[in-house]
């Protein structure tokens, strides 16, 4: 059989039934669009997790002072607990073999002044190790070093939000600011990092040396967190156990509960992955359902066609069409509907993905393979739901078909 001729013929027949064909194509298109949105959303969630890992640092364990509970998926630290010290951080570094680096930190909301401007922001005391562990990059100026930390130097590194709000976008490096009452020199600006998984703007903060924060600014003896980097992800669990035991000994807890909370990055990411999977599953089932509806549409249209076009089938058989020619033709028609549905669906899907990211604030990633998956699925649906009507049509005896009313 001449395939191109048959394809041309199928097109002519489909255009002859314009309304029915276009309804069928649109139901198919909705299904494919849903698939594309689903894949894009899935990828977006994936990217969010990758970003989270990147901004957190890799192979990380976080020790928080006191209890950290998750409220609505966000961390909430209860009360002020003063038992976690920089000495704990040093002990972890010295005694746990799998630990590569530790970065204790403490933070407080304080008033910051520059000339006549002032604002409240998070002042975070960190050691130089924090920059490496947590992938904090410097956009302008410089980082502070361990000497500056040890001597409690008055150096400050500001986030991009501070540059905007306090310095009105001016280059702040070299300017004198006051944090509380103490004077500091701005030595650098952090590269923008956006909002973290807890909804905290990581650019609305000022980093200063930890010792400066503890001794000069806050006059405290404790830290709030210790970030710990482990050599490899396989050692996360063991390191966590070692750290727990060490801290319990140092804090002389005996049979009392922990006065700290250890979060292991693997668990955190696992939680995030699970919620991403739930989302993907949800959108996925909607997509599958829409594709199914599209498929049933094709089934209905082709079965109706099979009944209405019995005379045509009979005539084709009379002029020499074999059963498989009839089957091919009907299957081609299903495939054309599915294919066109796929193409329109791809366009609709790309558009809805764009809408979802623009209006809904979803992280979505457009990708060619999402479109590919959509088109492939539509073809499969066209085939699967086209086979039954096609074989039904081809099973008709020529004379029965010709006699049909």
């Amino acid at each position: 059989m001449k395939l191109t001729k048959t394809i041309t013929l199928s097109f002519k027949i489909l255009t002859a039934h314009r309304l029915r064909t276009s309804l069928c194509i649109s139901s198919m298109a909705v299904g494919v669009a849903a698939v594309i949105v689903m894949v894009s959303m899935g990828r977006g969630a994936q990217k969010r997790i990758m970003d989270m890992i990147h901004n957190m640092g890799t192979n990380l364990i976080v020790v928080n002072a006191g209890h950290v509970t998750l409220v609505g998926g966000r961390e909430k630290q209860s009360a002020i607990v003063t038992t976690l010290r920089t000495g704990d951080a040093d002990a972890i570094m010295d005694h746990c073999a799998s630990v590569e680096e530790v970065a204790p930190e403490t933070s407080r909301k304080m008033n910051v002044r520059w000339e006549s401007e002032n604002l409240m922001t998070n002042i975070i005391g960190v050691t130089p190790a924090a920059f490496r562990i947590r992938n904090i990059e410097i956009e302008m100026g410089r980082n502070f070093d361990s000497v500056e930390n040890d001597t409690a130097g008055r150096a400050a590194i500001v986030g991009s939000v501070i540059v905007e709000k306090l310095f009105n976008g001016e280059d702040p490096v070299g300017h004198q600011i006051r944090i509380g009452l103490a004077p500091f020199e701005v030595v650098g600006v952090m590269k923008a990092r956006g909002v973290d998984a807890n909804g905290v703007d990581r650019d609305d903060r000022i980093l200063i040396p930890l010792n400066t924060a503890i001794r000069r600014l806050m006059r405290i003896t404790y830290v709030q967190k210790i970030h710990i980097q482990v050599a490899s992800s396989r050692q996360l669990q063991r390191a966590e156990a070692e750290i727990r035991q060490l801290l319990r000994e140092r804090h002389r807890l005996r049979d009392k509960p922990d006065d700290f909370t250890i979060q292991n990055q693997a668990t955190l990411i696992q939680t995030e992955r699970e919620s991403a999977r739930t989302l993907t599953l949800l959108v996925g089932s909607v997509a599958a359902l829409s594709l199914l509806v599209g498929g049933i549409g094709i089934l209905a249209v082709m079965l109706t066609a099979c009944r209405e076009r019995r005379k045509e089938i009979g005539l084709r058989r009379a002029v020499g069409a074999r059963r498989r020619d009839i089957r091919t033709q009907f299957l081609l028609e299903s495939l054309i509907i599915a294919g066109l549905g796929g193409l329109f669906g791809a366009a609709l899907g790309v558009f809805s993905t764009f809408l979802a990211s623009a209006l809904g604030g979803w992280t979505v990633i457009e990708s060619w393979d999402a479109i590919g998956v959509g088109l492939m699925l539509s073809t499969v649906v066209g085939l699967v739901f086209g086979i039954f009507p096609a074989s039904k049509a081809s099973a008709l005896e020529p004379i029965e078909a010709l006699r049909a009313e």
Partner: protein, 228 residues
């Protein structure tokens, strides 16, 4: 060229069986013009469908050029219909929202080879039935007589040995009927075997030989017309 031996056809509906054909034995030679006549319900159309391999008898044998047709598989029967026969039906059976040209081209789609000059051949075939000015018309835009002529052009496109026509003028006025019958006479003169099923004496008169169907049996009619 066409030979049947003791063809019987019985339709069974529920507990009632109707014996339409009760042992038809006939032969039609190459180049003959044969009319099959009979009142309605005598099985004329059933017989024609069996001769054209569109339907199978309950029992009996059909030979085409010495080949036992019922030993062929379904694909071979399709090929036979494609090459050997040209069908003309009472209801024309054209693809409605399709041009005259595309209708005529239809059998080529199912032929072994789609000729390079298919369109030229189809135009020639349409010209031979006087429709060279209606090539791009949709079937539904043509009159009954014109539609039947498109059907004839389609039947001729694969250069078949036999034209099988089932009440070809049944839906036509007398002028169109004359036109169709003129074309049939010409095709016969060109050497084609013509088998026309009709209840109409006027149509049968064009044939050389008339086979009369009655009570499921066939007999040569007295009104044969050998000089034609």
């Amino acid at each position: 060229m066409i030979k049947t031996v003791n063809i019987e056809k019985t339709y069974v509906k529920g507990s009632v069986s109707t014996h339409v054909l009760r042992g038809i034995t006939l032969s039609i030679d190459q180049g003959e013009y044969v009319a099959i006549m009979g009142t309605s319900g005598t099985g004329k159309t059933t017989l024609m469908n069996i001769l054209g391999c569109l339907d199978k008898p309950t029992s009996g044998k059909l030979e085409l050029d010495g080949v036992d047709v019922y030993k062929l598989n379904d694909d071979a029967l399709s090929a036979l219909r494609n090459k050997k026969f040209g069908f003309v039906f009472q209801q024309f059976f054209l693809l409605e929202r399709t041009t005259a040209l595309d209708n005529v081209l239809l059998p080529f789609i199912y032929a072994d080879r789609y000729p390079a000059d298919a369109i030229e051949l189809a135009k020639k075939s349409l010209a031979s039935v006087g429709l060279e000015y209606r090539i791009e018309y949709l079937a539904s835009e043509l009159s009954g007589g014109q539609q039947q002529r498109v059907a004839i052009a389609r039947a001729l496109i694969n250069d078949p040995d036999v034209i099988l026509a089932d009440e070809p003028t049944g839906n036509l006025d007398s002028r169109s009927t004359d036109e169709i019958l003129e074309i049939f006479s010409r095709l016969h003169k060109e050497g084609r075997t013509m088998v026309v099923v009709t209840h109409d004496q006027a149509v049968a008169r064009y044939a050389q030989r008339i086979l009369e169907l009655k009570d499921g049996q066939v007999r040569e009619s007295s009104v044969a017309n050998p000089q034609k």
